[in-house]
């Protein structure tokens, strides 16, 4: 059977992928025509292209995927006509192909409103990688931009403007609020204020009357005669289905575009099907990837069913009956989600709203009149409960007596999440991108023995699409393992059948000093890349011996082994410690001279230090000899250790400063420098409540008050930012340091490998109240011991780099070739960028 697919977008690709996987007897001979020059790529994550992701990384398949699956792929080839009676199609270059089945996956084009001046230079649409390339080029000479469209796609485009370094971006929306299709007025208002904080200028209820400029855009005029001046305009105001090819072939289309299909995705011609954004099903166009994938799945099953000769087929007939349009996304760092009927109102609906303008969170859930069923809802600013709420809604679970509990409290205990999972029915859809249900995942765990998220991904494909369901898959896996009576033990890896905390205590009791001693006494096998760094970190936290001594060097993570951070291309970056961010002009000059001498790229880090990139392994000891001679010491940027204590300038200069935050930051940084822990530790000291040092985003942060210092703990930035929580108030400097000693030792002793303090606290029973009891009220009676242990570590500190360059045995490891120690790695290459160098891109 000859099957032709027109369109090589995400849905067209997914259809091919599903068909070749299911078509065991290779009944179908597939030919694909794509209009773009590239094979199918991930349009959902298009904005990551601006954030530096390459076109190749966005690609959905390897270059040879089509070949190896016997799919004939024509790229850059649009189709001119379909002859439905002769069952042939003709491309614009004149290729004629006949088909038995034809699948239209022509997708959509950007909707372009008819505004006078739309043809001017500097006006773009936001749809393909080519569009992005044009936008990128133009953005280089632009300072201001406007985006027409305040919906999903518009805000994506606005994010892209931010990534491209545009100073000011206007967002223009015709409706009274942003994302009018997904969220209500209150949600829009909150989203708007969050985006305004990020520097966007937002115009709602605005109708663009004209694009002004002489050949090239200079601004916009609105119907209320107001004007703005911009250097470029991106239109991202919605989509229109590509149905023109179908229409000219006499296939039925909708009055407002879209190829009409039935529940089998069949068009008015029985041999022609349509899937994805071009298909009009029951009056509805689905502009998301997941429903398109579902259509692809239904069509694959039906085609295989139809072609199974005997009629006894494993492939049951399937129907597409519509798709839930619930969505969750992160827009420019702001979570936005809606599910079910987000706007439900009236007498038969009860609504619970939570508005927290301090944290910037808005949540709304709509309930049935009896308060037992969830009808829909909206989450802005914090969408952590989205997966659970969506499942509750989809599976019509009966709500608890107090439904507000569903949206209250982000640090809810793990028990409630588990209870929720147990209630889900077997067919609850967990991964909607790949249509994987709860029973598929539980089956993979119980019957196929998948006991890691990676194994489940491999086995079911769940979580391989947008990735949003991965946390739920993990919880589901642990829950299933427990339910099966599997004792879920928190093991480090196959070599150590105990938790990090247990191992820590055992190493201490037995006074073990090297990785081999620990492995011989407490583990089995030969170790691996998981347990080696864990053990090395424990040894360093306990004994504080130079990490490269006593044959421990090869048990260190690669960065620790070479006391530097490995970067793209295999060179290293060097970060000397600059306590509190304070540095003399003379030391600045030394850094400049060294960077020049060794041709290093220099950049100021987020932690008020200077990072020098592109150092050859062989040069590291030479660079450090000079740095140490000038009075610098290791910054431990390579280690799971104390990194930096950031500070604002404080009372020495600042007219608001209450105390000398710089001096205190230096004191703190010098106290805990070199301290190794389960993960990196960051800190900051602010001289007043304006909080310029951002102490509340650190593992421990200190803010000056009229009476002393407030101590905050367990915050972090990174992929899942979390504010630090107030541990104690108005402390004097000595008490504050004692509390930090206790806090850090408690963390180092009990945290899981690679758990930041925030994650550690989130898992701690009793949370911050418990932690305060331990640290401030000494409820465990450990305070004195921990303070002593910390003092031992402080007293035994020595700069690792100083020891490394003075010890010939260690120093000789810093060469690339063992049989040619003077030679550097000849494969290292750099490129030029803004008068400095950069690493060559990955191949």
């Amino acid at each position: 059977m000859k099957l032709v697919v027109i369109g090589n977008g995400m849905v067209g690709f997914k259809f091919c992928e599903k068909l070749v996987t299911a078509d065991h007897n290779q009944k179908f001979q597939i030919t694909v025509f794509g209009e773009e020059s590239r094979p199918a790529y991930d349009r959902v994550h298009l904005s990551e292209y601006f954030a530096g992701k390459s076109a190749k990384a966005l690609s959905l398949s390897d270059a040879d995927w089509y070949d190896s699956n016997n799919i004939e792929l024509h790229l850059g080839e649009s189709i001119r006509s379909i002859d439905a009676s002769a069952k042939t199609i003709t491309s614009h270059r004149g290729i004629m192909t006949c088909y038995d089945y034809l699948v239209l996956a022509t997708g959509s084009a950007a909707f372009i409103p008819s505004i006078p001046g739309i043809e001017k230079q500097g006006v773009f649409i936001y749809r393909t990688i080519e569009d992005l390339e044009l936008i990128t080029a133009w953005a280089k000479k632009s300072r201001t931009a406007a985006v027409i469209g305040g919906g999903l796609l518009g805000l994506e485009a606005a994010k892209a403007m931010l990534d491209l370094g545009i100073n000011q971006t206007h967002i223009i929306e015709f409706a009274p609020g942003l994302m009018p299709k997904q969220i209500d007025d209150q949600g829009s208002a909150l989203l708007q204020s969050k985006l305004e904080q990020l520097g966007f200028v937002i115009h709602t209820s605005k109708n663009t009357a004209e694009i002004s400029g002489d050949g090239r855009i200079t601004g916009l005029r609105f119907s209320d005669d107001s004007v703005i001046h911009v250097d470029m305009l991106v239109i991202s105001a919605g989509i229109k289905p590509r149905d023109e090819l179908a229409k000219t072939a006499g296939i039925a289309t909708g009055p407002r575009r879209g190829i009409v299909v039935n529940e089998k995705l069949q068009t008015s011609d029985p041999a022609i099907f349509a899937i994805g954004e071009c298909a009009l099903h029951n009056g509805m166009i689905y502009g998301l990837a997941a429903p398109g994938y579902e259509m692809a799945d239904v069509l694959v099953r039906n085609l295989l069913h139809q072609e199974s000769a005997s009629g006894i087929s494993q492939n049951q007939e399937a129907e597409f009956t519509g798709f839930d349009m619930s969505t969750k996304l992160k827009l420019i760092g702001v979570d936005v989600a809606s599910f079910g009927d987000p706007f439900a109102a009236g007498e038969s609906v009860k609504t619970i709203r939570l508005q927290d303008t301090v944290r910037g969170v808005y949540k709304r859930i709509n309930l049935s009149a009896d308060g037992k069923q969830l009808i829909g809802g909206i989450l802005v600013g914090d969408a952590e409960q989205y997966n659970m709420l969506l499942q509750t809604y989809k599976n019509k679970l009966v709500l608890p007596d107090d439904p507000s509990a569903l949206i209250l409290g982000t640090r809810s205990g793990p028990e409630s999440a588990e209870a929720g999972l147990a209630c889900l029915p077997d067919d609850a859809l967990i991964c909607s991108c790949e249509s994987i249900s709860k029973s598929d995942i539980c089956g993979a765990v119980s019957e196929l023995g998948c006991e890691s998220v990676e194994a489940i991904k491999k086995c079911t494909k769940a979580g391989t699409g947008c990735g949003g369901c991965v946390p739920m898959i993990k919880d589901m896996m642990l829950h299933t393992m427990k339910a099966n009576g599997r004792y879920v033990r928190n093991m480090i890896c196959e070599h150590f059948a105990c938790s990090r905390q247990e191992l820590f205590d055992l190493v201490k009791i037995h006074s073990l000093k090297t990785f081999d001693e620990v492995l011989d006494a407490l583990g089995k096998g030969d170790g691996c890349e998981i347990c080696k760094p864990v053990v090395s970190s424990i040894l360093a936290s306990l004994w504080n011996e130079m990490i490269l001594k006593k044959s421990n060097s090869t048990a260190q993570d690669s960065n620790d082994r070479f006391l530097a951070n490995i970067q793209k291309g295999g060179t290293y970056s060097v970060v000397p410690r600059i306590p509190g961010g304070e540095i003399t002009p003379d030391k600045l000059i030394v850094i400049g001279q060294i960077a020049k001498q060794y041709n290093l790229y220099t950049k100021i880090t987020g932690g008020q230090r200077i990072d020098m990139f592109g150092a050859h392994l062989n040069d590291l000891p030479l660079i450090w000899s000079q740095l140490i001679a000038a009075g610098f010491e290791s910054g431990h940027a390579y280690g799971k250790a104390l990194r930096t204590v950031k500070s604002c300038v404080g009372s020495t200069w600042c007219r608001f400063g209450l105390h000398d935050s710089v001096s205190y930051a230096i004191r703190i940084e010098e106290r805990y420098r070199g301290l190794r822990a389960p993960h990196k530790i960051k800190s900051a000291v602010s001289g007043c409540i304006r909080e310029c040092a951002e102490a509340q985003s650190k593992d421990f942060g200190i803010i000056a008050t009229e009476k002393g210092w407030n101590l905050y703990v367990c915050g972090n930035g990174g992929s899942k930012p979390q504010h630090a929580l107030l541990l104690a108030t108005d402390l004097d400097s000595e008490t504050c340091i004692r509390y930090i000693d206790r806090f850090l030792m408690f963390y180092i002793r009990t945290a899981d490998p690679l758990a930041r303090t925030a994650t550690w606290l989130n898992k701690m029973e009793g949370g911050i109240d418990y932690l305060r009891n331990v640290v401030v009220n000494d409820s465990l009676g450990m305070a004195e011991i921990w303070e002593k242990e910390m003092q031992l570590l402080v007293d035994s500190y020595a700069c690792e780099w100083k020891e490394a360059i003075e010890n010939p045995e260690i120093r000789k490891r810093f060469s690339h070739f063992i049989n040619a120690p003077e030679e550097k790695d000849p494969t290292v290459h750099f490129e030029n960028l803004r008068d400095q160098k950069k690493a060559r891109d990955w191949k």
Binding site: E454, K458, E494, H495, D516, L519, G525, D526, G527, C528, E529, C531, K532, P533, S551, S553, T554, A555, D557, S558, N559, R561, F562, I566, K568, G569, G570, R813, H816, F817, I818, N819, A820, E823, D825, P826, T827, V828, W842, K843
Partner: protein, 116 residues
């Protein structure tokens, strides 16, 4: 019929040049070979130095260990692991690395290169 391949043994370094339970990079003409001394098992291995995942000359700086009884190396960049015996990727990717025979004789380590 057998195809006979001869092996040339290339002298890489002395046996005490390598750190215990770790690796180093050996230059062989324009090629780079990662040599590992697995002290715990008293075994020597050699593989290509380039990690096939992102084409980085880095495997010799990776941590070695075992998965079950299989000796392996983890690339320092993204922790892809490879068998030191077969060169097969153990973290689920399609890529694999080339491995070389190693022998130790009279204090010197030799890497075996197959003649074309």
């Amino acid at each position: 019929m057998f195809e006979s391949k001869t092996i040339t043994w290339f002298r890489a370094c002395r046996d005490n040049d390598l750190p215990s339970n770790g690796g180093a990079c050996v230059r062989f003409g324009n090629e780079q070979i990662a040599l590992f001394y697995f002290t715990r098992r008293n075994e020597w291995y050699a593989t290509q130095n380039e990690c096939p995942h992102r084409k980085q000359m880095a495997l010799s700086r990776g941590m070695i260990g075992s998965a079950g009884s299989e000796p392996k190396v983890a690339c320092p960049f993204h922790k892809k692991t490879f068998s030191l015996i077969t060169g097969e990727c153990l973290s689920g990717d399609e890529c694999s690395i080339k491995t070389y025979p190693v022998k130790v004789d009279n204090g010197y380590v030799y890497i075996g290169i197959e003649n074309e």
